[in-house]
């Protein structure tokens, strides 16, 4: 199991009723799961707990067998660098760095990911990054541009490359296609799923749109998962 | 408004007077209580350290010793102005020492003359001492310590340095015993 949630409870500071209330959720290695639900229902909050950016208040989160709650913030950050890739809906990249640099970002924080790409030094890292970008449809010339000069579709692909780089155990995607048109959306998802399969990474994607469920092994409604009170935006 | 001006004038006058007095004091060699003078002179292989302090600050009194016991007490006190310590690495050996003794400071006290009950005492005599050392490596002299300054802890010392490198001066705060020779 690459992800295991048990009796997870989380409430926003200053609020009494739990925002997140999940009894059990499991993700197998290499499995792709879509979590769908309307905006503001807590999907992003759940993701910030799973990635370890926010500490959970109650319950267990296990990523790749590691219990998050027993780790300090610093260790969770390091663990995330090693095992988890993240894709946002937008603003995925550091605009002043090139696409290649952006892909190398997570590798910059994790030696393990460098090793899994067989990239011992900086040069090799960049070559591997460029390779991945090419496979996602970005040529070398484009990859050398600062990220702010890329189109939104291209930026999302760079984001996917960064998340995939180093073959992490788990990739978390927070509505990565919501701002794309349907054609680009399908293309991106196809590429993402293909590479996840290839790398052996599990994928947990959150979206308000259930139409993309075809790309996934299973689709879970967030409202079914989250037993606690939640607030719509 | 008038009061302000007057205060300022007074302050200015006072300050001016203070500067004038301190200048005059320096010029004529008048001593001030609480302030001692020292000099460190290095020439060739010899190091000369001299020290001068008001009687009051060393003995605590300017009165001549009343009896033999008092004279002994005074002498002991004067002995506390002990030998300075130059940097050991310079290899200095004391070759000459002069010091004010009780007799020199209070010449009248030697004469037990009851008729001279109210004659002039040299109230403002100073305790003086001078030590001369011969040093093997005077260039290695980096400091001279006057350990007795720790005993006379209320005394600030104006130090004059006449060294091969040049002339200099510094002021030792009360209790500070170390004179650095740049």
């Amino acid at each position: 199991m690459v992800l295991e949630l048990d009796s997870l409870r989380y409430q926003h500071p200053g609020q009494a009723r739990p925002f997140i209330h999940i009894d059990r959720f499991v993700l197998q290695a290499g499995e792709r799961v879509l979590l769908h639900g309307p905006s503001g229902c807590g999907k992003s909050t759940l993701l910030s707990l799973i990635t370890g950016i926010r500490p959970a208040q109650q319950g267990d989160i296990r990523v790749a067998g590691q219990l998050f709650s027993s780790l300090s913030q610093r260790r969770r950050d390091a663990f995330r660098a090693d095992h988890i890739g993240v894709i946002f809906q937008a603003f995925n990249l550091l605009p002043y760095l090139t696409a290649v640099d952006n892909v190398c970002l997570s590798a910059g924080f994790s030696r393990r990911r460098c090793e899994r790409e067989a990239a011992g030094n900086n040069k090799q890292r960049r070559v591997a990054a460029q390779d991945l970008l090419t496979r996602l449809g970005l040529d070398a010339a484009t990859s050398a541009l600062p990220a702010w000069q890329l189109s939104f579709g291209q930026q999302q692909r760079v984001a996917a490359a960064r998340a995939l780089f180093g073959k992490p155990d788990l990739i978390i995607a927070d509505e990565p296609t919501s701002a794309l048109d349907s054609h680009s959306r399908d293309t991106l998802l196809a590429l993402l799923c293909e590479h996840c399969e290839h790398a052996g990474s599990a994928l947990l994607m959150v979206s308000h749109d259930n139409q993309v469920a075809d790309h996934f092994h299973r689709s879970v409604a967030f409202s079914a998962l989250n037993g606690g009170e939640h607030h719509a935006a | 408004m008038k009061r302000f001006v007057r205060l300022e004038c007074l302050a200015g006058l006072g300050f001016g007077l203070l500067m004038l007095l301190s200048n005059l004091a320096n010029a004529a060699g008048v001593h001030q209580h609480g302030l001692a003078d020292a000099a460190v002179v290095v020439e060739g292989q010899s190091l000369t350290v001299s020290f001068r302090a008001p009687l009051m600050d060393i003995l605590g009194t300017e009165q001549p010793p009343a009896d033999a016991a008092a004279r002994v007490r005074y002498a002991d006190r004067l002995k506390q102005v002990s030998e300075p310590l130059p940097s050991p690495v310079a290899g200095c050996r004391l070759s000459h020492e002069t010091r004010s003794g009780v007799a020199a400071l209070f010449p009248e006290s030697q004469q037990h003359d009851p008729d001279h009950a109210h004659h002039e005492h040299s109230h403002h005599a100073d305790v003086e001492a001078e030590w001369t050392f011969q040093c093997q490596s005077p260039d290695k002299l980096s400091e001279v310590t006057l350990p007795f300054l720790a005993i006379f802890s209320g005394l600030a010392t104006e130090v004059i340095l006449l060294l091969p490198d040049g002339q200099s001066a510094l002021r030792l705060a009360p209790g500070n015993t170390r004179i650095p020779l740049e």
Partner: protein, 412 residues
């Protein structure tokens, strides 16, 4: 990875970064510049008196004697009689003696009356003797030797005539056009008040004061040498032994024939610095306040920019950046700005030193430093860099807290 992020990130905020860099540069110019100037002025003053053991003058304040007789500043001192000078000359402890008479000026430059001893025995800096760049020392009563700055500023050359006025500085009240002096020598630059002085013989000054009558040609008064004035302002002494300095000083203060003061110039100079220390400290405090302002601007600028950088930080955090990495990005920026500012400041100072050096030497006989950075200044530089780094700590912590609060995705 981190340096690249810091550099690229800073580049996007070029304008505000440049302004802060300039602010830090200016504060560094102040801090280091003031220290250097202070050091240089002290060195210059010390160099001027380094070869003199004692200065003897009429009884008066030692500071005044020092400032007037050596630096031609402050109030004139009373004169001492020539027979006292002879007593000093004949004293067994005295190796050499230089008489100095002041009081006149030429177009703002002080006239110094002295004798051959001045050229032969005056030493400055590291035991450096005076040397003539051109011509020779005065021999006759109507001859003048100029300091280097005087010759340069007023454009005099050998053979030129000069008119010397009675009285000091400003336009002459009485001029003696019918008895001009002739320039026979120009001294090399020394970086001391010698450069600003017009040197004449004692007979020459006597001539100025006696209405322009040169004594040469007249028989000397009985018991008096040919070129002796009635009085001089000061006598500079070089002694046989250093150990005689204090004893001679004391002896002269008790001299019965005339009230005298003998000062030890190096000692007096130190006491002068003790008096100016208050002013110097005020200057130092001011320059540090300027740095503090620059750093506060740095902190507030970074803080203000944090709002717009929330997504940037979210990306970094998602990629696995912990607290230390976030600190690295933010503090790295403030440190980089401080480093660039410091280098710019040092460069500005270096250029200013180089550009102003000739002017400083000519106007104030001040030799400006010519270093970019000296070992002595390293702790100051390190402290400034440290302060710059610390300035980044507050925004860094805030940035990290922000990212924790934002969770995965910042919501505007």
């Amino acid at each position: 990875m981190l340096p690249r992020i810091v550099l690229a990130s800073l580049h996007t905020r070029k304008t505000s970064a440049t302004l802060i860099v300039v602010a830090i540069a200016l504060s560094l110019v102040m801090i280091v510049g003031i220290e250097r100037l202070r050091h240089q002025v002290r060195a210059n003053f010390a160099s001027t008196v380094s070869g003199i053991d004692l200065i003897v003058s009429a009884r008066g304040g030692p500071m005044n004697i020092l400032l007037y007789s050596v630096f031609r500043l402050s109030d004139p001192t009373a004169g001492i009689r020539w027979d006292t000078v002879e007593h000093l000359a004949d004293h067994p402890d005295v190796k050499w003696w230089i008489p100095i008479a002041l009081g006149d000026s030429h177009r703002g430059f002080p006239v110094v009356a002295t004798n051959d001893s001045y050229l032969a025995h005056y030493r400055y800096g590291r035991d450096q003797a005076l040397s003539l760049a051109d011509g020779q020392w005065f021999a006759g009563a109507d001859q003048v030797v100029l300091g280097s700055a005087v010759a340069q500023r007023l454009g005099y050359q050998l053979g030129d005539d000069m008119v010397l006025a009675h009285g000091a500085s400003g336009p002459a009240i009485i001029e003696h056009d019918n008895h001009p002096f002739t320039v026979v020598g120009v001294l090399s630059a020394t970086g001391t008040p010698v450069d600003q002085s017009v040197h004449v013989s004692l007979a020459g000054m006597a001539a100025i004061h006696s209405g322009g009558q040169f004594r040469s040609g007249l028989p000397p008064r009985p018991g008096q040498r040919a070129d002796t004035p009635d009085s001089v302002n000061a006598v500079m002494l070089g002694l046989e032994r250093r150990t005689a300095v204090l004893s001679l000083q004391r002896e002269l203060s008790r001299y019965k024939a005339e009230p005298l003061s003998a000062i030890i110039p190096g000692v007096q100079l130190q006491r002068l610095w003790r008096m100016t220390a208050v002013g110097e400290n005020a200057l130092r405090a001011t320059s540090m306040a300027v740095l503090l302002v620059a750093l506060l601007v740095l902190v507030s600028t970074i803080l203000a920019a944090l709002e717009g950088r929330r997504h940037e930080l979210a990306v970094l955090r998602a990629a696995g950046a912990g607290r230390l990495a976030v600190y690295g990005v933010i503090v790295g920026e403030s440190l980089l700005v401080t480093v660039i500012g410091s280098l710019l400041g040092l460069t500005l100072l270096f250029v200013a030193q180089w550009a102003l050096a000739p002017l400083a030497l000519a106007e104030w006989s001040l030799r400006l430093p010519d270093t970019f950075l000296s070992v002595r200044e390293l702790p100051t530089l390190a402290a400034i860099l440290l302060a710059g780094s610390l300035a980044g700590l507050i925004p860094a912590e805030k940035a990290f807290r922000n990212s924790l609060a934002d969770g995965l995705t910042p919501r505007n």
